[in-house]
């Protein structure tokens, strides 16, 4: 129970880091292929989906 508390309490930062990682990867793709707003916007959306998917999977897995 204490172990699940640690894993659940670290979810907030994991969601935020997933969004910023997606934004960073989208920005790098923007720099290579010079598609100015689309890459970063797509990256933010994919990062948000990744963070929320991870959080929901950890949250619904137990009990």
């Amino acid at each position: 129970m204490k172990n699940d508390f640690i894993k659940a309490a670290s979810l907030g930062l994991e969601i935020a880091v997933a969004v910023f990682l997606g934004a960073f990867i989208g920005y790098q793709i923007d720099l290579r292929f010079s598609s100015q707003p689309i890459g970063m916007a797509l990256g933010v959306l994919i990062g948000a989906a990744a963070g929320l998917w991870n959080a929901v999977r950890v949250g619904l897995k137990e009990k």
């Binding site: 659940a8 309490a9 930062l13 994991e14 949250g59 137990e62 009990k63």
Partner: protein
């Protein structure tokens, strides 16, 4: 002049986000504690769901924090 505006925007960003986060987590915890007090057998379930909901609210506050840090160092 732009630096003054950047500092002001940085402070306002994290300040307003902290208001929203504080209220959100406070309401969340109060409802969860009320539910745990009504039915102590479900305390484990309620506690874990509360922590996961707090994670979502906290993620939004972290976005505002990063925006504020970017504005301060500009």
């Amino acid at each position: 002049m732009e630096k003054v505006a950047a500092y002001l925007a940085g402070g306002l960003s994290i300040g307003l986000a902290a208001i929203g986060t504080g209220l959100g987590i406070g309401w969340l915890a109060s409802k969860a504690l009320e539910g745990m007090a009504r039915q102590p057998e479900a305390a484990g379930n309620i506690r874990t769901s509360m922590i996961i909901a707090i994670a979502f609210v906290e993620a939004i506050c972290l976005y505002a924090l990063v925006v504020s840090l970017i504005l301060i160092t500009k």
